[in-house]
Symmetry: C2
DNA sequence: ATGATGACCGTCCGTTCGGTCAGTAATCAA
DNA sequence: TTGATTACTGACCGAACGGACGGTCATCAT
């Protein structure tokens, strides 16, 4: 409330860096310590997914970071750029997985399964960014750009499905485009409920045991390729 | 732009009712003709799903309806109530499907498949409402209420999966909760891409032939229960 | 000591937001 | 013609929005 509050916090405290739970810890960089673009981006993505992009004001973000609103604009040119950076990171991961799969030998069905597993790995590794990406619906220019890249990814997976059907490895009585959408619909839905294990053994209700959500990928592949029925 | 625009549009025109593409057509009701709650709700849901709930202003909605912002508040008490009505309609459909399935005889796996098919039917029949429901993430009180009902539905499906596993009809090597989430993750994802056929035969890229997205439900059940592999 | 660097503050702006209110306009039944 | 019913207008309010601005402050290499 008082105008001196922010200043007094900045000047007080025994340690040099800001207290809080934030992670502005950087390694011996010049200049005044504090947040950098990365720490701001991660907090922004967290808030965007928690409360929605539009519902999150820059002042909300500033409060969460423990700095003022104007300080954010020292690191980023606009609110939309935060969204662009976040979706870009998720898409980069997905596309690098697609590129790796594309350069792979073997049957299409095996490469498709590999793409599913790698996509799950990206989902788990970059969960906040992927979650945000999957909630984007094309309101702003940045969102439309992200949607276009997502469509390109979908088309790649669809072409893989078509190849596998042509190889006689996948059932031909489902439209390949629909197959691809349902397959990655499962993967995408996991962004809304999968949470990495934080501690002990494989407890109930969780998701993936092993590193990087291996159980999640395993479940999706079993369900999709072999079917649920015994 | 000009302040007289709204008035001139309302006063002009040959017909008594509002022109536009809106559907205020009602059947011989008393009072001044125009929009009723239903027509406003449908337009609101359309805009909410197109541009997002938070990104859609009440003035956006009023423009789309061809009336003023304050006229909306004659039909509805708040913006949030529109959201409550919309999600409520979708959930009512889903829960009536669940209730019908619950009172059904037969093996759990068959009732589960029936629930999937009926859920797809609800999805298709109330596509705008269900789509909006699935995008809700718990920011407001109305959204949290919708989320709670969604969780109850998920728990019902999970219990059905557990029964089917106990019956020996579903593979036991996937956690039942995860199975349920993946299964309905496919159904939910369809809300983002399924569009009912508007015209001729089963063209490519579309979704469901037959009435009510039968092909969609068929594809999901084949994929989930029998698997994609030949 | 000094200057470059990077992080940050406080204040203000034009605009838009959800919502209110008193009054008006069109339709039906009596 | 009157009155009940329903739909609607236009002016307005307080608050919050994204963003811009000039100035300040701590830290580094020199």
């Amino acid at each position: 409330m008082s105008p001196a509050q922010g200043r007094s916090r900045a000047g007080a405290g025994p340690g040099p860096g800001p207290g809080r739970g934030g992670r502005p810890g950087r390694g011996g960089r010049p200049g005044r310590p504090g947040h950098d673009l990365e720490s701001i981006l991660r907090t922004a993505v967290r808030l965007f997914t928690e409360r929605g992009y539009d519902a999150t004001s820059m002042e909300d973000l500033s409060r969460a970071l423990g700095i003022t609103k104007s300080a954010i604009y020292h690191h980023v040119s606009s609110k939309e750029e935060l969204l662009r950076l976040a979706t870009g990171r998720a898409l980069d991961g997905l596309f690098s997985a697609a590129a790796a799969v594309e350069a792979l030998p073997g049957r299409a069905i095996d490469r498709l399964e590999r793409l599913v597993r790698d996509s799950v790995a990206v989902l788990v590794a970059e969960l906040p960014f992927v979650t945000l990406l999957l909630r984007v619906h094309g309101n702003t220019a940045a969102e439309r750009e992200a949607l276009a890249r997502r469509r390109a990814f979908d088309q790649f997976t669809a072409s893989l499905v078509k190849q596998a059907v042509a190889d006689g490895d996948l059932r031909p009585d489902i439209d390949p485009v629909m197959t691809a959408k349902l397959l990655f619909g499962m993967v995408s839905s996991a962004a809304e409920w999968y949470r990495p294990e934080r501690g002990g053994g494989s407890g109930p209700g969780g998701g993936g045991s092993g590193p990087g959500g291996g159980a999640l990928a395993e479940a999706i592949c079993k369900l999709a390729f072999e079917g649920l029925r015994t």
